[in-house]
Symmetry: none
Subunit: 251 residues, 2 copies
DNA sequence: TGTACATACTCCTCCAAGGGGAGGGTCAAG
DNA sequence: CTTGACCCTCCCCTTGGAGGAGTATGTACA
């Protein structure tokens, strides 16, 4: 069974242009070329493509990938090395997000993002990063919690209800990440307590209401982005859990 | 006090080439140009450069930076937008790191990082039978029925099916990560094609069947772990999407 | 004033990883 | 036999500069 570029493209998700490119640079030559010059790919090529895509996800340059696919050994050390790089990048990203949040917060308070404070004449990116890291450390000490972990939470501006909601969401997100089923007793208990809290604070919310609400989130840009921003899949997990809770209550 | 390119370069850490570039694209024109064509920068330009470097650290494209520096207002919304992008990137990075760890772990156990683990692409009937046997054992234990009896194994077509399934799952996972709604037309089309493919390969699967199947996954350890292992939240997203598809078809 | 040497300029090409489109050939169905 | 979907090659464009060729200018020292 041989596949044309279009077929490979829709099987793998890469564009036809990319296949052309990979052929041109010799990274993925087709197994055959027809009379008319059509590229034809077999199973082996599809598999190779999967490997290529894997490494590409890890941000290896294509040349590196070609090398990796040639010499199998010592792959482990390269991967380990790559992990370090990725961790570094993640850290840097977190710092940057932090700074961004800071400047947004100060803008909200009407302060101009004043260059005197923020741009104290740093010479290069290196110093920049160090400075930002310092700022982050300061926040941690000053407020006693790690902003990176409780990313969405600005404790000061938050009233009790928001805090409860945030805590609830955090636990739901954690449950999702750790593979706890949406129908698990713990989750059901979590929802029950959450609804209980809501009802004690002037919101009349039945289990069915809650299920409907969470289902509504799935179609609403604002809420969907908010939830998914906290944890990929959270909106869907939440909805499934709420529905399960409502169904159980109905019995 | 006016500075030449070299001086600005060593003050700020950017290269002379970069200053040329920023001049050419109009991002940072010098305050004056000498008789001989030398670029001369004043304090204002140095400050502007600091701002540029700040945004560059946040990975804004230069065009965006130019826009930001022109119109100060609405800066907040742009920053907020940027925050979302960064969060997305962070999440993606986390997924990647996890994948990396997994494959490193499996390599340590002496397994080759084979396509079986990563891409569900099996090479031959042998491997297929092994894999199916494993799954079959699970099904038999858990639900008390046998599956190998009923299905003839044809490696060729199974490979195709596995490939299609993997491609489908990949795209679903990607859609989840990038925030595409479960009810989005693209997702619905994806499911339609997937079911179409299944039906062409001897599996009679209606939309309702598929929805039921994916809902079943949520309660089944084996499938849940498999899906969530690929992408956190995928099982729930898949179920929501399948249900939405079945509902739409019903109209 | 001559001579080094550093620094400046413009213009050109190149990098990764493809994207976009022109212009033209091929394939299968109706 | 035509239509529409698909395929090909060829060439230019993108980002954010890096590198170099060839040439002009600024400055320091003898």
């Amino acid at each position: 069974m041989l596949y044309t570029v279009k077929e490979v493209s829709s099987l793998s998700g890469v564009t036809v242009k990319t296949l052309h490119h990979y052929h041109k640079i010799g990274l993925l030559p087709p197994s055959a070329v027809s009379e008319a010059g059509y590229r034809l790919y077999g199973m082996k090529e599809l598999e190779r493509l999967q490997h290529i895509l894997f490494y590409r996800e890890l941000d290896f340059p294509l040349k590196e990938i070609a090398r990796l696919l040639k010499e199998d050994p010592e792959r482990h050390s390269i991967l380990a090395q790559q992990e370090e790089l990725l961790l570094l990048r993640k850290q840097r990203l977190e710092t940057i997000i932090q700074t961004l949040r800071q400047s947004m917060a100060s803008m909200e308070k009407g302060e101009t993002m004043n260059s005197k404070d923020m741009f104290n004449g740093f010479e290069n990116a290196q110093e920049w990063e160090e400075a930002l890291e310092e700022q982050n450390r300061h926040l941690k000490e000053a407020y006693g919690y790690d902003m990176l972990d409780s990313a969405e939470i600005d404790a000061q501006s938050m009233n009790e209800q928001a805090l409860e909601a945030a805590a609830f969401m955090n636990r739901m997100a954690e449950a999702l990440r750790t593979g706890i089923k949406h129908s698990d007793a713990e989750i059901q208990r979590l929802i029950r307590d959450h609804l209980h809290f809501m009802n004690k604070h002037g919101h009349t919310v039945t289990a069915a209401d809650f299920a409907a609400q969470t289902r509504f989130f799935l179609g609403d840009d604002f809420h969907l982005r908010m939830l998914e921003g906290q944890q990929t899949g959270l909106a869907y997990y939440l909805s499934a859990a709420a529905e399960s809770y409502a169904a159980a209550e109905h019995e």
